[in-house]
Amino acid sequence: MNCCSQKPVFEMHSGEKLCKPHFTEYFEGKVFKTIRQFDLIGKEENLGVALSGGKDSLTVLHILHRLSMQNPKIKICAIAIDEGIHNYRDKTLETAKEFCNKNSIDLHIFSYKEEFGLTLDEMLNILDVKPCTICGIFRRYLLNKKSRELNFTKIATGHNLDDECQSVLMNQMRNDAGASARLGPKAGLTQDSRFVQRIKPLYLCTEKEVTAYAFINGLLDSFNECPNAIHSFRVQVRDNLNDLENKFPGTKYSIVNSFLQVLPFLKEKFKSGSVKACAKCGEPSANDVCNACIYLEKLKNSIIRVV
């Protein structure tokens, strides 16, 4: 069924076909409804948008930038982390810089090389670890630390429904309900001033919807996938989920919607007490020493052994 007499550009999993204006209205309406439903953005904010230069983060920034133009009490800045992944992050950061220049948005870039002394590529030449594990630890560490130093009230990320769905299933398969408790449109478990609240405005938008919106709004750059992604468990889960979605449309929505019903119980069960300060760097940590410092120590010891 078509929405109107205009040519359709997107077919919903329900079978309804939307033209460009109706799809745009549907997509933006869903993002704003998500923001309201989960109370993601208050009346006055100094928001940081975690920008990679990919379609998801550009879409979040595009929509929140418009929100901030309409509401001067909501300030927007972009923050990017340069992990140092040759032929990947250098390209996406160029797109990020171009977008911010064009729209007069302040962009703060922090790199692993400057903050930790090594790029991710160099780290992976030294340590035999899964790239996504070590990369995730350092990226979250820097994003939180720098966002706090920049006085961001919240960090908006480009996580979409597909990302959340994959994480829910991965945590089930790993028997890690505690990790699932940290998911949701408002990520994390602990209300601590040293943690900057992470929010996911695209939480209920599928990756295909985000791509179509990005295409229509000229936000879609040439294809770019992290060269390390092939090693990840997430890719296996993603491909299987896409096969299921093709056979049983609406599967991803069902998984995330049922997850949202149990999420409050998970958050309550895994609610953590006081957060420690890392003995080495002083950043918030569940243990005496944070994961970032543990890996930095491993890197240091490996370099010493090689020398």
């Binding site: 990919g54 379609k55 294809f223 996938e225 992604a229 896409n242 979605e245 093709n246």
Partner: protein, 71 residues
């Protein structure tokens, strides 16, 4: 049966292909031919998105854009 000639650009592989398809083929036939899951792509012609039931024309230039990106 007459055949259609369709040029396809696959952004994920950065690859151009030319295919011969049956005269009354639609986008989903093209995706089946290329063994692509429609959930994982959007399809455009002349810089406009087209749906899976869109009829293809002779000498169409189609772009198949992956929705998967990032890390």
């Amino acid at each position: 049966m007459d055949k259609l000639k369709v040029s396809v650009f696959l952004d994920r592989d950065n690859l151009n292909k030319t295919l011969q398809l049956d005269d009354n083929s639609i986008v989903s036939d093209l995706l089946k031919e290329l063994k692509i899951n429609p959930v994982t792509v959007i399809v455009s012609r002349n810089n406009e998105l087209i749906l899976e039931d869109e009829k293809l024309k002779n000498n169409d230039e189609i772009k198949i854009l992956s929705v998967i990106s990032g890390g």
